[in-house]
Subunit: 410 residues, 2 copies
Amino acid sequence: MSKKLNIGLFGFGVVGQGLYDIIKTKDLNIEIVKIAIKNPEKERSLPKELFTTDRNEILNNPEINTVVELINDTEAAFEIVSRALSTGKNVVSASKKMIATYLEELIELQHKYGTSLLYEGAVCGSIPIIRNLEEYYDNELLHSISGIFNGSSNYILSKGYLENLDYDSALKQAQDLGFAETDPTMDVGGYDAKFKLIIAAAHAYGVVIDPNEVLNIGIQNLSPHDLQYAREKKLKIKLVPVAKELDDRHVTLFVLPKFVNETEFLYNVEYEYNGVTVQAAFADQQFFFGKGAGGHPTGSAVLSDIAALRYDYQYEYKKAKGANNLQFTNNVEVNIYLRYDDEALVEALEFEHIQERFYSGSYKFVIGKINLQKLIDNQQSIADSKAFVAFADQLTGVSLAAAKHEAATV
Amino acid sequence: MSKKLNIGLFGFGVVGQGLYDIIKTKDLNIEIVKIAIKNPEKERSLPKELFTTDRNEILNNPEINTVVELINDTEAAFEIVSRALSTGKNVVSASKKMIATYLEELIELQHKYGTSLLYEGAVCGSIPIIRNLEEYYDNELLHSISGIFNGSSNYILSKGYLENLDYDSALKQAQDLGFAETDPTMDVGGYDAKFKLIIAAAHAYGVVIDPNEVLNIGIQNLSPHDLQYAREKKLKIKLVPVAKELDDRHVTLFVLPKFVNETEFLYNVEYEYNGVTVQAAFADQQFFFGKGAGGHPTGSAVLSDIAALRYDYQYEYKKAKGANNLQFTNNVEVNIYLRYDDEALVEALEFEHIQERFYSGSYKFVIGKINLQKLIDNQQSIADSKAFVAFADQLTGVSLAAAKHEAATV
């Protein structure tokens, strides 16, 4: 029934080692034949002959029927994965940036060569969100998907909010614990969350979207003023990616810090944990929670993909084949909180409606409704002027269904 | 790729109608050919010729390749499902009592006749817990599964705690909303939750357990004193089924009211919503949340099973085939809160350790550690004396892994 998998593993970092730890505790008819690494000098916990620095030792080895790709280099990862897929090897990958960037090509390669690429480990670590979108919600109309998709930025926010730890020390801790990407802006800038959102949206809505078209504003400019404001309102600030169906024809995606209240499940998602909220037409609100980072949680997601390959499991991207194809748009109104110094920025954003405005010597903010496109147009000046932008609407959880109707000007 | 399903539907209550609503909004190559009902007099929303009162019109119809069983009568349901499975028809069922009671026979029938029985809709409505246990955690060592599995008892608890609504009115509302079983003791007595727990345990631990061996104490005896006590401690009382691995050889199952604190996800699971907490060795703590009752949420779970049958999906009960078979035991120590009148009951329970004891004219309670078997032995006298028992340990969530080690006297 299940076939033996001979695995060629690329990368032996936190996740690769986590995966190895898990596999060796089980009897799964799975063997790791070779491990390709960059640095041969580094001390390894396993026998030297298991390692190689030559990718061809794996890609050209006919014995190896499965490639597990867990490296950091996006371009190299894509070359490895596409070569494997086009030479009859199934692939499990956890490279979210690579998958989000080359998703269209990767889907084509799978169809062309009849091979399978699985990537549960790339999205929200241990949470089986892709599998559920693909298998369980395949016939469900989804109003929205949102959540906390990046463990290390959430870890930093929790350390700051719960333990008053400063940004840099918190980031250092996250890196030491192996949660953080090599380039921290990937995490705190919302890029990592965006890549995961784009991958999830492909399975939820059948849309394949260029990451460059999707807004991501991170938590780098978060100030004590913003935290103080959140505390006074009994709210927390989380970094929340949102994919939302606006009507039968349009879907929008963005990543923004968000004020969440204590009735939202995301409120209690702290440190490296992730949470995914799915709002479905018939199943109604659903929430998935689990560890979003770390070797073992991500390793267990990678292993569940490997195990599925023993039965030649493939994603079908059913919704992409569906009749009612949705279009991506940034032309949507969002309620934001903007903490700023320079009045010119407020002008440039052209608020369509201002709800609240506060001014004191050291602290100025405005809360109001603007068009998402304006945020994109002014992204650079927001970053430069150290302004902080947060999603100020109850756009997650149960209120999503309602929000759907007021999604304006599309 | 996917085959056409001609469905014979048994039962057209809340879930049956919900299912019909969902199917008609989609183009799934699924047709409901016949609907078997008990009462031909009742007004139906669909053309009369679609209905029959003769089950054989479905079971003997070779055109029908799929049976969807959504009736209330356990014995009739088992007869229908076993006849369908043994005559080459795949089956989707939401009858938790029937499945939990006849699980062993149902597994044998599937193996013997190569047919498939799916029952996601039987456990926690819209939450895809069975599919995830079967597919995603199939190689994971699970420390425990617990949660809120019964929507109508949780609805009653929420109405009482949040709105001070009395028990009977809350129950009436739950019934009017279609959450409640015909026999309310199924819900409030913890039977419904127990059946779901037993089904989940079969997929999580590979154990098939006789429902009569598993303790279920419900919320019928909950008093204002108990609610008041919970409020003072900033706790809520929920009805929580627990399946817990004690060591490499033993697993225990029970259903008890439980004090939960605000850091637990179950704390925010209110009304008809359900929540499932899974503690896994590598994936670590995971939580699933969704609507546990109602026609559309359960209907969407039933539909996802039907859709899976288009690809001849079957449960493999992988863990049952696994080497390390676990044994079920009730010989385990639990910390309980007991509110009582009759001192004799406290004597009979033979507390191994008493931690806290309170006495006033109208309100007496004791908190301490006892053997689960003692609760089973004295279940009748607990019910008769209107005593209230609640699980008084942080046995869910992250503390489970720790609790595992102190699971005593096994």
